[in-house]
Amino acid sequence: MMKRDECFRVLKRHVTDEVVVATYSSAVEWLALGERTLNYFSVGAMGLDSSHALGLALGRPDKRIICLQGDGSLLMNLGCLVTIAAVAPKNLVHLVVQNSTYEANGGHPIPNTKTDFAGMARAAGYAQVHDFSELANFEQQAGHLLKQEGPVFATLHVAPSGPLTYDYPKLYDATRRAAIKAVMSS
């Protein structure tokens, strides 16, 4: 099974001027690959990362927005699939990391570990839907996926990670938010 950090390293090779929206464990492992101004670590409420990403995608249709969302997070905001599919932003790539656990809250399982998130996104009406379980396949497709006309959805099936250190004050630092806002509002 893939690991989240392996998937993110693959993704990192293709990311240039895209905005990356992430929260909790995904934010920790994405940030470990390097600082960049265009990281938007969505704050305050689990599940809203995809909604923050939709707002950014609408506000800046000239930029690609990549949302790295955990499966537990998506479960808290499943309606976003319907909203995003209806609005249909062409510049939004929605990647859901499915490790089947609430990792940041003690590693407890999500209510149904066999949930088919890609199937849900397809039924909601996303323009492009993918499902990756093999790293080689994701490596082959990642560049193409990021350039597809959206909204694009992909599930990345990964194994639960080892213990992570959640430095929330660093992740959600006000200067970091101010820096990306300066870029996005210009």
């Binding site: 969505s42 409420a45 923050h52 939709l54 995608a57 509002s185």
Partner: protein, 180 residues
């Protein structure tokens, strides 16, 4: 008579929807994010849905509005969250985290379902209405009651201030705006 059983004909005071909509336009609101609310349905949401000056995003649950509005604000785009007070109560954690703790200009227009406009919200016999203003006070969110036509003058300065100083603001709609 219960407020939810009152008809527009029972209300001796008319709160017109069009000046509220004009105030939103004057405030630079471009996006309206909404879950339907019976108080504002006819006088605000329906005309907004037909108005090409607005981009209406219909969401599934009210807390989505808070995230979307935050993302838009990073891009200098102004948004109004148009919801019912039950949806406000359901979204408290999102408002706490995104709007208050991270000081985002989240502008909310909240219909007070089942409110009797002849009373103040704090004195409403309806528990759900009675707790709205105390919750906003506890969260430090400025709020304004839109109950009669002169109240509409509060809208633009409050929205401008929210965006200028990056903080949330709430407008409580106390009676059903008419379609005129």
């Amino acid at each position: 008579m219960d407020a939810d059983l009152r008809t527009d004909g029972d209300d001796e005071i008319e709160l017109r929807g069009s000046p509220i909509i004009a105030a939103l336009k004057a405030s630079g609101i471009e996006y309206v994010l909404s879950v339907p609310d019976i108080v504002t349905s006819r006088g605000l949401l329906r005309p907004i849905a037909r108005d090409p000056a607005f981009k209406l995003i219909r969401v599934c649950k009210e807390d989505e509005c808070i995230g979307i509005a935050s993302g838009l604000s990073y891009c200098n785009k102004r948004a109004l969250t148009l919801i019912q007070h039950t949806g406000f109560l359901d979204s408290i954690n999102a408002i706490r985290g995104v709007a208050v703790e991270y000081a985002q200009p989240i502008c909310m227009m909240i219909g007070l379902l089942q409110h009797d406009p002849r009373t103040t919200p704090r004195n409403s016999p309806r528990y759900g209405v009675r707790i709205v203003e105390p919750i906003l006070d506890a969260m430090g969110i400025p709020h304004h009651l839109i109950n009669e036509e002169p109240d509409i003058a509060k809208v633009r300065p409050a929205i401008d201030d929210a965006y200028a100083n990056s903080h949330p603001v709430a407008f409580l709609v106390g009676r059903r705006p008419s379609m005129s």
